[in-house]
């Protein structure tokens, strides 16, 4: 045995006794390779065109503005948004005497997915369809169809033109609300890229 093996180096040892890694290394390697998380996409702007009113799906298709499936989807979505009541009295109290009806089998199927169940709704006279254009912070735009039921109530007395005017008003109120909520969102959205803007020119910051 050499003399060195008996020399107690430990008291003056200049290095740590044990080191480990918790997350770096083979298993963690995949983590760094995953790259950056995607930027959140937010709607920054919405535009609506003038909606059109139709008394039926066939009416909508005949106008030749929307495809049949868009007309059908919009009808179904409108129907789903019609308020429902469990009794005729409740419905009439809200919408006026003579405004309410039980859904047809076809309406019940479209609104709830089943023909069963007894409920009442303002009699639906037709629906409105329009286009909505949304722009996002990633520079993407997409177009979506929006819709609104046209139904009979106390004020319109079952007059189609008045009913569709009322529906148009509802649409424009709702659109204003959406616009202002988008504007609020935009205002509340966080600013990014406030740090590191000159980095691409310099490559790195370690020293």
């Amino acid at each position: 045995m050499s003399k060195h093996d008996h020399t107690p180096h430990l008291p003056r040892r200049k290095r740590s006794g044990r080191l480990t890694l918790a997350m770096m290394g083979a298993s963690a390697f995949g983590l760094t390779a995953c790259g950056q998380p995607p930027q959140e996409e937010q709607i920054t702007e919405i535009e609506f065109d003038e909606p059109r009113s139709f008394q039926s799906v066939e009416d909508c298709v005949a106008e030749n503005v929307y495809t049949r499936s868009a007309c059908e989807d919009a009808y179904k979505a409108s129907l789903e948004s019609v308020p429902r009541y469990s009794t005729l009295e409740e419905c009439e109290a809200e919408n006026g005497e003579g405004s309410c009806t039980a859904p047809t089998e076809e309406q019940s199927q479209a609104a709830t997915g089943s023909t069963g169940g007894s409920w009442f709704m303002p009699a639906m006279m037709g629906y409105m369809v329009g286009s909505m254009m949304s722009n996002t912070n990633r520079g993407r735009s997409f177009e979506r169809v929006y819709q609104e039921p046209v139904y009979r109530n106390r004020q319109n007395q079952g007059n189609w033109n008045t009913a569709s005017n009322q529906a148009t008003q509802r649409v424009s109120q709702r659109n204003d609300a959406m616009r202002s909520s988008v504007a609020q969102n935009r205002q509340a959205a966080s600013q990014r890229r406030g740090f590191g803007s000159r980095s691409s020119a310099r490559g790195g910051w370690g020293s």
Binding site: H4, D5, T7, H9, R12, R13, K14, R15, S16, L19, T20, L21, A22, M23, M24, G25, A26, A28, F29, T32, Q36, P37, Q39, E40, Q187, A188, S190, Q191, R192, R193, G194, F195, G196, S197, R198, S199, S200, A201, R202, G203, G204, W205, G206, S207
Partner: protein, 388 residues
């Protein structure tokens, strides 16, 4: 101090990959080199590196205190005025710091000379603190080094202690970690620090500097989910942050930064002439002065450095024999200092530079970089050391 050729460990590249060291080779050129090592005596390490590092560190802390209480000195260091309060407050409230590295020219005899401080965004940390340690243990196990070989390196152990200390002082023991996008080496360094933080019992989420958000009405900078960032470690320099779009907002928000704002005082080469002014003649310091409009052209035996520069960029030197060497770079928009030229030791074709690490306020290890040129750059190789 000797440079000794030795065999490489078997399969070290596979091991490096397994241990997350994926920048051992950069652009096809070796960065980590282990076909040689630098050999020191214990006395050289303790007397010439460790003790002077702690002493210079104390001198630096003394200077930070002076600068933090003097607008004139803040101005002299070209620190932006909107940061003065943050710098002063972070120092006065005793905000802890994590780490720093001093670069010394040292040849084995005579005092080590401080070339510069890297006290804000030092890298080569993983190589020095972890991979170098693994190299020593394996080199001994494989009979490449004698059994009594040692290394000046408790860097990682100290980092874990320092992180635990920070963890006790930050909200929810959560410290975000950050660097810029598209830089593998910096990402790896930050990854290593996250690893150390996790070992110290912290939560250590990552966010790129570019992704840090400013939310209207929020008291903190926010992450990608708009959640407040209470504390964040950034491998990104203060002088850049201050100049960035969010720079003016930093003093208004409560996010705690590591390194703290007061490190801006030391990550600035203007600190070198200030050190010389206050401790002129100290054996570990080189004469250094601020360059002024009336300074003559750079004379022989002097080095010219911008206040803010990294990886050897924009440094120019003329040896006493009149040989000129310079590295180009983008750092031309800050003032300059001049420092007396002091040769780094040369081994074969290589100039060796000692990086001496400080964690918390303790000197705790070193790493050696070597380059064929006299200016150490990001491409300069890392060569391990041992005390034999």
């Amino acid at each position: 101090m000797l440079r000794i050729d030795i065999p490489e460990r078997n399969e070290w590249k596979a091991l490096a990959h397994e241990l997350g060291f994926n920048f051992h080779t950069i652009d096809g050129e070796p960065y980590w080199k282990e076909d040689a090592y630098y050999q020191f005596t214990l006395e050289q390490v303790e007397r010439d590196i460790e003790a002077p590092t702690e002493e210079v560190h104390e001198m630096c802390m003394e200077l930070v205190d002076k600068v933090c209480h003097s607008n004139a000195l803040m101005q002299r260091l070209a620190l932006p005025e909107h940061m003065w309060d943050s710098i002063h407050n972070s120092w006065k409230s005793g905000q802890p710091h994590l780490y720093g590295r001093m670069d010394f020219a040292y040849s084995g005899d005579g005092p080590a000379k401080l070339l510069e401080l890297n006290y804000d965004t030092p890298t080569s940390l993983y190589e020095a603190g972890f991979f170098q340690w693994v190299w020593l243990e394996q080199a001994i196990a494989q009979g490449i080094l004698p059994r009594h070989a040692d290394q000046y390196n408790s860097i990682q152990e100290r980092l874990i202690n320092a992180m635990a200390h920070l963890g006790d002082r930050i909200d929810a023991r959560t410290l975000y970690f950050s660097c810029i996008k598209d830089n593998a080496e910096e990402r790896a360094t930050v990854h290593y620090l996250q690893d150390v933080a996790v070992q110290a019992g912290l939560k250590a989420p990552f966010i790129y500097m570019e992704d840090i958000g400013l939310h209207p009405g929020a008291e903190y900078f926010v992450d990608l989910n708009n959640q407040p960032i209470h504390a964040l470690f950034k491998l990104y320099p203060w002088e850049e942050m201050a100049d960035d779009d969010f720079g003016e907002v930093i003093p208004q928000l409560n996010t705690h930064w590591f390194e703290p704002p007061w490190k801006a005082v030391l990550s600035n080469k203007g600190i070198l002439p200030l050190l010389w002014e206050h401790f002129e003649g100290h054996p570990n310091l080189l004469p250094a002065f601020f360059e002024t409009a009336s300074s003559p052209p750079l004379p022989a035996g002097w080095v010219r450095k911008p206040f803010f520069s990294r990886e050897g960029n924009n440094i120019e030197l003329i040896t006493p024999a009149g040989q000129r060497e310079a590295v180009d770079g983008p750092y031309t928009d800050s003032p300059w200092i001049r420092q007396a030229y002091h040769p780094m030791p040369r081994f074969g074709n290589n100039h060796a530079l000692i990086g001496s690490w400080v964690v918390g306020d303790r000197a705790c290890g070193m790493g050696i970089r070597e380059d064929v040129g006299r200016i150490t750059k990001d491409s300069s190789c890392f060569v391990p050391h041992a005390i034999v």
